[in-house]
Amino acid sequence: MSDSIATATPTGGTPKVSKIQEAIIRIAGNSQDGIQAIGGFLARLAGRSEQEVMTFMTIPSTISGGPSIFQVRVGTGEVLSSGDDADVLLAFYQHSYDDHVASLKKGGIVLYDSDHVSEIPEENKSVYRHVPIPISGLTVEAIGGTAKDKGKNIFALGLLAKMFDLNIPKLEKLINERFTGKDNSIAQNALMAFHAGYGYSLGGIIETFQFAEAQKAKERPQVVMNGNEALGYGLIAAGVRFGAGYPITPWSDIMELLRRELPKYGGTFVQCEDEIASVSMAIGASYGGRVAVTGSSGPGVSLKTEALGWAVMAEMPLIIIDVQRGGPSTGMPTNVEQSDLNIACFGGHGDSPRVVIAPADVEDCFYTAIEAVNIARKFSVPVILLTDQGIATRIEAFSEPDLEKICQDISPDLSPRPDHKPYDLNAPDGITRHLAPGTPILSGKYPITTGLEHDEMGHPTGSPKLHASMTAKRRMKLQALSRELPRPRVYGPPEGNILLVGWGSTQGPIKEAVERARKAGDSVSAVHIKYLFPLPEGLDEIFAAFNHVFVVEMNDEGLYGYGQLAGLLRARFCDPKIRGINKVDGLTWKVRDILDRAESAVSHGMKKL
């Protein structure tokens, strides 16, 4: 990339300053080194400036220790993915260096802790620019002998601040904010470490870099958070006031947030004895009159499917969040994967249609949570919100939502009704309306809510005719939803050679792949499917305008050669040109990999035919 550090041309004299559009910085160390904190500070700072930011994090699933990385991509202009190759690697240990030096662009810069990294292979020296800095020693020197490993992350932040000419007063303020409330000396130490790093002379070795000014100021202030936070706040904005859950990574953050925040709004989040109790309790609260939330990851989602089936049968609104991780079984708890689409759409026995939606990025988590709540209420149906480890822990900056306009009140209406028939077969689009318990029904005939096949009042029936018509009713309301959903829009020209299809967190890398391919003169467009079940209308027309349709997913190609969404789309459209580009390495897509895989799958190249 011509506008990044590796090839930036120095301007000016000493110290040399290069103007750059963006930088990808990978910080590699161990999980207890606080490298997420460095990334967090950089992301926050970018959010307070006019820069776009996206991060990518891997955390080991061990309790303490183990290699960990944090990659932050800061840029002027839209940042779509966390980037393929890094411009700068900051390596704390020999293993950090060994494992991650290959993630650098040629000509990239390695800052390494020379107190811990001693072996630099000879062949690397001509490929990357190496900058040894005794980070551990200098940190101890700066803040005293007892510090040990503590504080070297902040020292490193100082180094980066110097290197990228970052806004020092803003960073100082962020450091102060982060450490306030704790022992005053902690903030003092942090600032000392920061200034020691900032004061370290890099001048003779490498130039400094400056981000180009943004073209136009953002209309609304930027907020910086990860996907789990955005989702939790979205639920609160949507009016959700009750939730229940059980701890499991990476879902736990959402439950911790809701447990902490809901009481301010008069709501409650309950930590349950298990996953089944969680979903059951949430359904109980939904039955109580206000749609409630439960969530999980991996194996926890499997455990919830029986109760989910009840919510389908009883037509009870419910939000289930699935923060996908690598499976099956305990799988890869801290790695990203999109392999829960099948269980989300089809998990459970019997014909049990439900709604599945997937947010595309951190900002979308906030709005999708609200949308999920409104669909659940309007169609009286459980909605599964499929996010993934990639979005959950990724930090992004986005325009602050207009909360005054967005926040809604969904308190139940308990006013008396003359009569009520929840499972009315003649209801428009077959949509059930429940009355919350506590609602007086003046006819004296009260409906019952049940998992047995039932008549229009909810009373059990063995009638073949009723089972057929109720099954159709539960299906037809989702067909009605399908007609209401916004038609997907093609990114790039609406016709051409290759169409990349994505869902969930792959939207960014896929868009970037389209841009890169088009710059190279290739005919590549993309479509992102947010509403996965039911699918929106219009996809067949979009597919018809391309020679090849590749569904890019982070899941296995399956027994028959198609990933989970590709399989769904083939079943839906019977279109043999739908094929899959799949992977299950537990990492997010690299833009280059998407394009390489697409190119090798088409015999006549990616140019327009």
Binding site: P263, A307, P437, G438, G451
Partner: protein, 318 residues
């Protein structure tokens, strides 16, 4: 359900402040009559003990003037769990073993309702065993009546977690070999704050236990022996004076606040004792503890609308 409205009008989404509006003409309302409470004709076998429990629930509703909009009847799966279909009122028939967490969701979000849960021994002590323990220890306000018949009836005679050793069922043709659960001991050790035992053959006693359970502020548990005439006929004859058995009330000098004494009482061989074994009125309910957390949290955001509270979090994310 109402359409979502913007909360700018100041109606805070306070789920714990839900109050059911009074139905018209409630000033001098009479208790509901059996006719007004009865719904579907029960599907139980003639002679089933569950009929008696249902009749006494009707009596409780009538006597204590529990109107339709003040109660919810919940059950899991099993013969006895068919209960809600026979009651005219808001109710839910949930999945096997999970009636308690479902009921907890109602109890914790709708303080204006009293939640009654009915179920059997399989629901309570086998598939739902863990929920029983945790709902008890959390002291979530509700009344739970387990109609214990010592057998799986709906699936036609398999061994249940309360089947006594030697009971011949389709899954233990040579007689049950697994040590049975003692529901009273289970409830006491799990931390239930109201633990009582009764039997369907003594209607007045069942009603008295139901009333006391309903009046208890917390998780109130009643084990009600309820004979399955089809698959375990005569199981409880030793507790029925009409069948030559003895109905022993809990001794008058038993201290219901003494957990150890209650446990000892529960250890008495069948037919054992009937009545209130244990009651702890001091331990706060989860409902109250959560309300305290809310009151405290809300005192810090007093006068603010939901969006303003949320705005603070967004301001901190800038």
């Amino acid at each position: 359900m109402s359409n979502p409205t913007s909360d700018t009008a100041g109606t805070r989404g306070n789920i714990l402040a839900v109050n059911a509006p009074e139905a018209p003409g409630t000033v001098e309302r009479k208790g509901l009559t059996k006719k007004e409470i009865a719904a579907d004709h029960p599907t139980w076998c003639p002679g089933c003990g569950d009929f008696s429990v249902l009749a006494l629930y009707f009596k409780l509703i009538e006597k204590r003037k529990l109107w339709h909009e003040k109660i919810t009847t919940v059950a899991g799966i099993g013969c006895s769990s068919r209960f809600p279909y026979f009651v005219q009122g808001h109710g839910a028939h949930f999945i096997h073993g999970r009636a308690l967490p479902f009921a907890s969701g109602i109890s914790l979000s709708r303080p204006d309702l009293h939640v009654f849960v009915f179920g059997g021994d399989g629901d309570a002590f086998s598939i739902g065993g863990n929920h029983f323990n945790h709902t008890a220890r959390k002291n979530i306000k509700m009344t739970y009546v387990v109609m214990d018949n010592w057998v799986y009836g709906l699936t036609k005679k398999q061994t249940s977690p309360t089947s006594p050793l030697g009971f011949k069922s389709k899954t233990d043709i040579w007689g049950a070999v697994d040590h049975p659960i003692n529901p009273m001991k289970q409830a006491i050790s799990a931390g239930a704050t109201f633990v009582a035992r009764t039997t369907h053959t003594n209607p007045n006693h069942v009603l008295a236990m139901m009333e006391a359970a309903m009046d208890h502020d917390g998780f109130s548990f009643i084990e009600c022996l309820s004979e399955c005439v089809e698959f375990y006929e005569g199981a409880f004859d030793a507790s029925n004076p009409r069948k030559g058995g003895v109905f022993n009330l809990v001794p008058a000098d038993h201290d219901v606040t003494d957990e150890h004494a209650a446990y000892k009482l529960a250890d008495t061989p069948f037919p054992g004792y009937f009545g209130l074994f244990y009651k702890n009125s001091k331990r706060a309910t989860k409902n109250a503890l959560e309300t305290n957390i809310n009151t405290d949290a809300q005192s810090r955001v007093q006068g603010q609308k939901s969006w303003q509270i949320l705005q603070k979090n967004f301001d901190r994310s800038k």
